[in-house]
Subunit: 421 residues, 2 copies
Amino acid sequence: MAAELTGNILVAQSGGPTAVINASLAGVISEALNHECIEEVYGGLNGIQGILNEDLIDLAGESQQAIRGLRYTPASALGTCRFKLRREADYQRILEVFHAHNIRYFFYIGGNDSQDTANQISKMAQASGWEMRVIGIPKTVDNDLVRTDHTPGYGSIIKHVATTVKELACDADAMADHDLVHVVEVMGRSAGWVAAGSALAKRRDHPHDAPHIILLPEVAFDPNKFLDDVTNVLKRQRYCMVVVGEGLVDAEGNYITTAAGATDNFGHSQLGGIGDYLKELVDGHIDGVKTRSSRLGHTQRAAATHASQTDNNEAFMAGQAAVEAALDGVTDKMVTLMRGETDYYSCETGLTDLEEVANGVKHLPPQWINEDGISMSYQFVKYATPLIQGEVQVPYEHGLPAFVHLAKIPVEKHLRPHRWE
Amino acid sequence: MAAELTGNILVAQSGGPTAVINASLAGVISEALNHECIEEVYGGLNGIQGILNEDLIDLAGESQQAIRGLRYTPASALGTCRFKLRREADYQRILEVFHAHNIRYFFYIGGNDSQDTANQISKMAQASGWEMRVIGIPKTVDNDLVRTDHTPGYGSIIKHVATTVKELACDADAMADHDLVHVVEVMGRSAGWVAAGSALAKRRDHPHDAPHIILLPEVAFDPNKFLDDVTNVLKRQRYCMVVVGEGLVDAEGNYITTAAGATDNFGHSQLGGIGDYLKELVDGHIDGVKTRSSRLGHTQRAAATHASQTDNNEAFMAGQAAVEAALDGVTDKMVTLMRGETDYYSCETGLTDLEEVANGVKHLPPQWINEDGISMSYQFVKYATPLIQGEVQVPYEHGLPAFVHLAKIPVEKHLRPHRWE
């Protein structure tokens, strides 16, 4: 047991929202309120960007109802950002904010870029002699963080995608007066985890259920093979449902469609349009079929009404575990999810070095992709099925989900405004 | 009470599927099984197209479990079509099928084109002296059928759209490191009922909730006014959510974007792409904003997991009422939904002439659109709110909705194959 460290908590969210990132926030807040050495529980608005602006809110001042409501409210209740710390002056400013508000515990909920940010901040604080504990809490629909069995957010997005594929398959199956090819474009920039998850839409022992073709960034795209695969499905049945991850690449590793080389603040290519591309490919090369394309877009990561209870519980647990670890004296770690060894699914939290997680990418194991390159193996289904179990019961009011809105009581600023230059 | 007519029932589904069209089918089947003068309950596969092919199935042979499951399974379990009867020989063929299978009751679940088809078939049967009763059952997500307060399918699609808008608004609200314009394209070819329904996403007394701009086919689109409206929203808040009906037109009544004049079998223009068009319009004319567009596409009408229990109940009730009316000797009518006069919402079924419904289009009352042209009045909200109440509880299995699949036991064919020419 490390020496007790008395002071305030700062928690913030970063990167793309998910259906359960607020459950992790709720986990942090609920656990923090149990410990006397924690004096104030502050939230940083819009991730690191708001912290630079000294935009803190008093989370202990929120109603119990609002904190409970975070369990089923999608997206980042604290706001998020995709800002990357680069300047020495920015790091110094963060340290000033920590000093000004006696921040001794910093929890950053995010993906690999965010874990990298948390790691840098912790190093900087240590170098300056400011005693504090920094713990990362994993979050990403992409499931591409290393050192964790899976990532909070992933179970819910694949539950949403598989549910939508099942619903669309009912629709496609009904339209039997012509052959139909329906392309569904889903998220997944550098790894095919989300597209792969659509495989769960197949009922056991019904290999011909949708989706019929899954296109993954891990498998180089070959237009001729794709057209052959579609043709083969249409020989067998009247519709062919294709699920494609947005980051599809060719044999040279180039994205199939990238809008004029646009990139975000982290240098990632901005993708989109692969669904329409594949639709047009079929239109141009296979006669007598009707084609559709759907781009699920941001609805995928915001679909709280399709969230997995298992995912939600684990996201909450990860938030709690971060606080517990920090109070035990741990720092510079990210909470991980560890699956039990037994056949019956179980999950506990663990810890890994922030350093290890930062900027790593976990790809789909190649052996989980069948030899045909367009379907998932039994091992993948065994891995992913437990993650989508249970349905989050969102309360409804007047016929619609009653998401909560935080009061966001501002913490008084002590510093001069930040110079953004 | 009309003379009892003993014979068989034929029920079929037509046009675009909805989340509750199978509830109407379940209503027909459940009610039919209560009456001794009904001998067999047949389903026609793929609407009128399957009837021409003599593709009938024995619905009485389906399990009770499957019939119950129709209550929450989206899309047309019997299959559907968009085929339009034109040739005299086709009408004659249908009569032959009726004779061959002693069809004395025909129920057609569909939109205005389908009610027209039912009307023509009934006239033809009467002219030939074949005694039968023909009742239409309304169905369309578009809510554009005349002579009925609203149409089964509408409540569920707007519940889905409003739910999705609320979820996307959480996501947009979280991304506050730049101004954001998010365009959501929804269904609605000739009327703006679906786009209008998104107005329900606003909480009472929160006029600044999303959606901030609703673009309806009833209001001629003016790009300059649109850009002004977006700019005004962004003066007030950090994101602007736009919901647009796919059938948006300019002052001359031309669709804003129509892909090369493509039309379906009924001569309707095939639409799409208006969301991307608006996104590009903002990109090109308003500096410093980030833009997104979502095309909800076919997920809208298949979203059983977001269906309205009120809508579902009314769809079932419409199916039952059709059978009851036919057994009472009624023919050539469509079932309607009639709202009670009191403030407390109630709904009963009525009947109207097929003739009146066929090919009519119900537009949004102009007085339900506010003077700003981009928001809905209190009267619309009062009209639409009761239609989305209650959540259909879809059973889940292994983490996903357990939709049913009919056994589709074929009825033996008695006729030679149809000559399609």
